[in-house]
């Protein structure tokens, strides 16, 4: 007996001294990191994707302690367990040993009838839960979703059969598209031209070169544009009359009847009647709508197209600025710089540019680019728009410039790494054959290093797509009325403000008027951003790995 326990103790001591427990603890560090990364991605994916999946619509019958019966219709958003004592004040009856109560978060929509469109239901109070087939969710342009039953369909004042619903919806959709094209493209172009005329006139006034014939010319053009506008306005009114012709009469959960005009309806779905195939199709439709549509309801609904567009455009501009700059700096550091103090200083500068907090770049961009450079540009070239600034205010160009400086070190480091992997033999061979240094660079070195340069650019893009702090100061807005690229001359408007996916997440999550409604949208946008950035990174890493393999073989 004693021997065994001695052996047992000896075993433990030996195990301890071998260091094995510490090794396992350090392995635990790896596991925790892995769990957190993968867990985070899974969390965003599941919460983000569930936003698009058409959920079941339920009807709940509740009975509370006072004997009041209520009916609630909606989608289940969340469920949680809370300690029973936190609800003790509601007077709810608990089972003898019950420590926790489960509750469900239901989205009830119907913003015109109830004050909050989300509601918590306590599971013990739920008498019954059914999923009737006729329950419908109506997605609208204003006031959010409506959940209820369709009572009647009214076409031009007369009640008609519900089977005509799809055709009426299609008709309204077509007209809405025409209205939007009319407003955004045609009328927008006229407004833009009118503004440019005004600025031209003001410029002449400031230069004292306004002659009576010029005045007459401007007046004539303005007249013409105004007439065009009146024509378009008439067309718009006619279209508006068309879409307000039909209505839908629906019944909400408390029995109230509401009339919804077709012009407000985007989609009508009988979620409970959809099978797996229908739901998958609906899912894909929602995902594409998210990417292609404009936002509605103060960014709490709709799509994120302007944010995607703004991010892409800004990143493209930034790439155009940073690529030549970064590649040239890397070439200098690798090919031309001597082994002296200046080079050491330069390398320190590159490291520091990488380490400076991004907000400092934002501050620098705001003070130097926006106010100093932009202000001077305004004084020199855009004096006629003053006091309203053109470039002396945050915009897409200054954002691109600021982010170019921020991502410069990424491009430099990556390009340098690519240049250093090229065997010296290639350079020597080319120089020995009589090529100048620049020819060697241009014809031999750069083409071989181009995958590394591309890696650097992709990493820079991934970084720029995710940086928000500096952009908050130099050009991003919550809601941009128009895109920086449109059909009006000069087509690319570098002075306009834009929307950004990362900032959109911050804004919708923390500065939106209806946090519960906005939350799923935040997850969906986060999922989109993470997908873009992770795929960019993985592309860059795989290119880099392939390069390493290729050069390992070259060196042998």
């Amino acid at each position: 007996m004693m021997k065994n326990s001695n052996k047992g103790n000896g075993n433990m001591k030996k195990w301890f001294r071998s260091g094995s427990p510490w090794i396992w603890l350090s392995a635990g560090g790896v596991s925790i990191s892995l769990i957190s990364v993968l867990g985070l991605l899974w969390l965003i994916a599941s919460k983000g994707l569930s936003y698009f999946w058409p959920a079941d619509l339920h009807q709940f019958e509740l009975l509370d302690e006072k004997g009041v019966r209520t009916t609630v219709i909606g989608e289940i958003y969340d469920r949680e367990r809370i300690p029973a004592s936190q609800l003790a004040h509601t007077g709810i009856k608990l089972k003898p040993n019950q420590e926790t109560i489960e509750r469900l978060l239901i989205k009830t929509g119907n913003r015109e009838l109830v004050s909050l469109d989300f509601r918590w239901l306590l599971v013990p109070q739920i008498q019954s839960m059914i999923t009737p087939e006729e329950l419908v969710v109506i997605e609208r342009r204003t006031n959010g979703n409506f959940y209820g039953y369709i009572d009647a369909l009214v076409l031009d004042g007369k009640e008609v059969a519900l089977s005509q619903l799809p055709q009426l919806q299609e008709r309204v959709d077509e007209f809405q598209e025409q209205i939007e094209a009319l407003q955004k493209t045609d009328i927008g172009a006229i407004n833009y031209k009118l503004e440019r005329l005004r600025l031209k006139e003001r410029k002449h006034t400031l230069d004292n070169s306004l002659t009576p014939e010029l005045i007459q010319r401007f007046e004539k053009s303005t007249e013409k544009l105004k007439n065009e506008y009146l024509q378009l306005e008439k067309k718009l009114m006619a279209l508006r009359d068309e879409i307000s012709r039909d209505q839908l009469i629906v019944r909400a959960m408390d029995g109230q009847q509401v009339t919804i005009n077709f012009e407000h309806i985007l989609q009508i779905n009988y979620n409970n009647q959809m099978g797996l195939l229908d739901r998958t199709l609906m899912f894909m439709h929602q995902v594409s709508a998210f990417i292609v549509d404009d936002p509605r309801e103060a960014n709490t609904e709709g799509g994120v197209f302007p944010a995607i567009f703004g991010t892409v455009l800004m990143v493209l501009l930034m790439t155009v600025i940073v690529s030549p700059f970064g590649v040239i700096a890397a070439i200098y550091l690798h090919e031309y710089a001597g082994n002296n103090a200046l080079t050491k200083l330069l390398r320190i500068a590159v490291i520091n540019l990488a380490g400076v907090p991004s907000i400092v770049y934002g501050v620098f961009g705001l003070g130097f680019f926006v106010y100093m450079v932009g202000g001077s540009l305004d004084q020199l070239f855009y004096a006629e728009t003053l006091p309203s600034p053109t470039f002396g205010t945050p915009g897409v160009m200054w954002s691109a410039l600021t982010l170019a400086i921020l991502t410069l070190p990424v491009v430099i480091v990556s390009t340098e790494e690519g240049l250093s992997r090229i065997p010296a033999a290639m350079r020597h061979g080319s120089l020995a054959l009589g090529a100048t240094k620049v020819e060697t660079l241009w014809r031999i070195i750069l083409p071989i290093a181009s995958p590394a340069i591309m890696t650097g650019i992709i990493l820079a893009i991934a970084r720029a797509a995710g940086e928000v702090a500096p952009l908050m100061l130099v050009g991003v807005v919550k809601m941009a009325p128009n895109l920086p690229l449109d059909g009006n001359f000069p087509f690319l408007h570098l002075d306009r403000k834009f929307m950004h996916l990362g900032f959109h997440i911050y804004d919708v999550g923390f500065q939106s008027p209806n946090v519960e409604a906005a939350r799923p949208l935040v997850y969906a946008t986060a999922l989109l951003l993470v997908t873009i950035i992770v795929s960019l990174n993985m592309t860059a890493v795989s290119i880099r790995n392939k390069l390493r393999e290729k050069y390992r073989m070259l060196e042998h």
Binding site: W15, R17, S33, A329, Y336, G355, G466
Partner: protein, 743 residues
């Protein structure tokens, strides 16, 4: 050969041109960094400049054969283009201060007499910038306001002055008994005008004029006379606060403070007794502080603070004139808390009270001027002495910011004691902006330290295992996955921390503490169980697969912790752990606190530390490890005593770069904390960091103001901090690389 020769000229040219261009491009990287540094300094520098005061315009107000008159008061318009003087013979003269197409400097635009007969003016009392109360030798009292109208012609602007009477043209009867007044003070709002005066027969009276409508439109009023219970026979100075609540009456070295808002009775609120001989008294802008000047050249500032037995007037700070001469006059600015002192030999000092800054000192003449005034926008000084009118320009943009005001405790008006406060804006107009960088720097350090507390153990242990114990196959998969963390935008980490993690921690608070125990214990338990397993199983599941084996174990431990949390909360903490720690332990709990930030920012910093530590450990030459193992050490002993020691500079520099990153992080802190600028180490309280502060306040600050420049200063502090850390880390890593290549 021939081809090369023919085009060698252009090729050589292209080569040199390219070389210059590329060199320029390379150097411009250094240039960018220097530009950022210089620009930040350029914006910051003005806040540390002292005031610049210089004489710009001066001329004589006396024509050759006029008799000398004594000036009792001067004033000027907002644009410093027209000045006016009120003489003791009742004349009010307006002079041109700026050359316009119509007039030259010194031209007398207007001259009017405000006294009915040829009486002598005895007293002119100011209130605010424009109101002047005139008392003449026959005890006729008038209230006048010089007003200025700007008219615009082709290219120029002309200011046309005039005099208006806000309380009507008739004489004001301020004393019921119609005795002469030896001292008067007053203040006026739209609804009331209050006068406190000391009469010739030693009575202290208070007279209130109640507007029938609004004094801005209608001078009609009702009068209410009151007498104040006052036992002293002399009164040297009287002051009334602009909000009509207090009157300060100085008799010698005693200042009596009276409450004026009661219509029935005037109550003596406090008495301030000075140890030294007082010479003058003035009210600071805002009407809360009183400045007392004495014969030794000391000016003391007093305001009310909350003490144990109610609110009391306390001496807060003192200032001394530059030549220690007696203070003859203290003149305060209208909108800022700065003041000027004048001595009898013409020496002037400018001070700012809150930051205890001495802004300027020098001489503005040989004697004290007859009349002295600060321009309405505090950008000029006007004085008249011996018929010479002189205008000074004052450049004093940022008096409230000094190095000590930014970093030391400051005693603000209304606070019981000096404190570190950051409060840059508020809703009311009489707000004093409080700029102390200490709470927000503290917040930065607190956030960084908590982040390192979470990140360093996990990152170091993960790096050690990955670099040293892991098989190459597994390493190829694990390393990129962990490096993926670096690519995640911090916006996403921040929003998850604020919207998901913070409520989760708040609801499952016991789970957090359970996890700290469960995770290591379950790891050790798994280690022990594995150790006891038979050899065949051990061969199939080698120790090198430990990270993978641990994943389900840790997940299970986490699930257990979260399931037990409500039970624990119910039984041990009475149903709500939050309330328990607030009520029983006295620790305040904020939903978005340092714990949430620590976890979220730790997550963001882990990949930075991991990558570099892993690199450092992996690059330790193999022969050191082999040698140690050959001599009989275990794997772990080799690791601790040989490998880690050799790689320690690399590990140190990795931690420093992680710290640098944590200090500069903006979005996570912005979204996961309450952004409260408090000085509290508690893990359950929020904080405000330098970076988040800049992001929040910069879009709303006025360009060029002190606030704007201080935000740039915060950015500069961050810049210098990360510069020092990154450069140091890079030096260490360079030395390490050289050391390895020699090993």
């Amino acid at each position: 050969m021939t081809i090369a020769h023919n085009s060698s000229g252009t090729r050589k040219l292209k080569n040199s041109l390219a070389k210059w261009l590329i060199t320029l491009g390379g150097i411009s990287v250094l240039f960018t960094l220097v530009l950022i540094f210089m620009y930040l300094l350029y914006v910051i520098k003005p806040i540390f400049d002292s005031a610049k005061i210089e004489s710009t315009v001066s001329f004589s107000t006396k024509k050759s054969n006029e008799i000398s008159k004594v000036a009792l008061s001067v004033g000027l318009d907002e644009l410093k283009e027209v000045a006016y003087t009120i003489y003791n013979n009742g004349m009010v003269d307006f002079y041109q201060l700026k050359t316009t197409p119509e007039h030259k400097v010194g031209h007398k635009i207007l001259s009017t007499n405000v006294l009915a007969k040829s009486n002598q003016l005895r007293l002119v009392v100011d209130s605010g910038v424009y109101l002047k109360l005139l008392v003449d030798s026959q005890n006729n009292i008038q209230l006048i306001t010089p007003s200025f109208k700007a008219t615009y012609t082709e290219d120029a602007r002309e200011i046309i002055p005039s005099i208006s009477y806000p309380l009507g043209n008739e004489n004001l009867i301020l004393d019921e008994k119609n005795k002469g007044l030896s001292q008067v003070a007053f203040a006026m709002t739209e609804e009331k005008a209050m006068f406190v005066a000391f009469t010739e027969d030693n009575r202290l009276i208070k007279t209130t004029l109640l507007a029938e409508d609004d004094f801005n439109y209608d001078p009609a009023f009702e009068t209410n006379y009151q007498e104040i219970d006052f036992s002293h026979n002399i009164v040297d100075d009287i002051l009334v606060t602009p909000d009509l609540t207090l009157a300060f009456v100085r008799s010698g070295n005693l200042v009596s403070v009276f409450e004026l808002d009661d219509e029935d009775d005037v109550v003596l609120k406090a008495e301030i007794i000075s140890a030294t001989e007082l010479t003058t008294m003035a009210l600071l802008s805002g009407g809360s502080s009183i400045l007392l000047g004495d014969s030794q050249g000391t000016i003391s500032q007093w305001f009310e603070v909350a003490a144990e037995n109610g609110r009391q007037f306390k001496e807060i700070r003192t200032f001394t004139t530059s030549n220690n001469e007696a203070v003859d006059l203290i003149v305060t600015e209208q909108f800022r808390k700065s003041f000027y002192t004048l001595t009898s030999s013409g020496v002037m000092d400018a001070f700012y009270t809150t930051s205890e800054a001495q802004l300027w000192q020098g001489s503005i003449g040989n004697t004290q001027p007859e009349a002295f005034v600060i321009s309405p926008r505090a950008d000029g000084l006007l004085l008249i002495n011996d018929n010479k009118l002189e205008l000074f320009s004052v450049e004093n943009e940022h008096p409230e910011v000094t190095w000590s005001a930014l970093w030391q405790e400051v005693w603000y008006e209304g606070y019981p004691e000096p404190d570190f406060i950051w409060q840059s804006t508020s809703g009311s107009d009489d707000f004093e902006a409080k700029f102390s960088l200490v709470p927000i720097s503290f917040g930065t350090i607190k956030a960084a330290l908590y982040a390192m507390l979470f990140a360093v153990p996990i990152a170091l242990t993960a790096a050690i295992y990955t670099a040293y114990f892991m098989t190459p196959g597994l390493r190829k998969k694990v390393k990129p996955t962990i490096e993926l963390m670096e690519a995640l935008p911090t916006v996403i980490l921040g929003f998850l921390a604020g919207l998901w993690l913070a409520p989760l921690i708040e609801n499952y608070l016991p789970a957090v503490f359970l996890l700290v125990i469960f995770l290591p214990c379950s790891t050790l338990l798994t280690a022990f169980v594995w150790h006891q397993l038979p050899k065949e199983v051990k061969n199939n599941l080698p120790e090198t697969l430990a990270p993978i084996l641990l994943i389900p174990v840790l997940l299970l431990a986490g699930y257990a912790a979260f399931s037990l949390s409500p039970v624990l909360e119910q039984y041990v903490f009475g149903g709500d752990m939050r309330q328990y720690i607030t009520n029983e332990l006295g620790i305040n709990f904020d939903q978005r606190n340092a714990l949430v930030v620590g976890i979220a920012m730790g997550f963001a910093v882990i990949p930075t530390i991991f990558t570099m530590t892993e690199d450092a450990i992996f690059s330790v030459p193999r022969h050191l490890t082999s040698g140690s193992l050959a001599l009989g050490a275990t794997q772990w002993q080799t690791l601790i005593k040989v490998v880690l020691l050799t790689a320690s500079p690399g590990i140190f520099s990795a931690v420093m770069m992680g710290l640098g990153r944590a200090v500069g992080e903006t979005m996570i802190v912005l979204m996961a904390t309450g952004n409260t600028p408090i000085l509290d180490w508690s893990i359950f309280q929020g904080m405000r960091t330098l970076a988040a502060n800049i992001a929040v306040e910069m879009p709303e600050s006025e360009v060029g103001s002190s606030h704007y420049r201080i935000l740039f200063l915060a950015a500069f502090v961050l810049f210098v901090f990360t510069f020092v850390f990154n450069t140091l880390a890079e030096f260490i890593r360079q030395r390490l690389r050289e050391k390895y290549s020699s090993l």
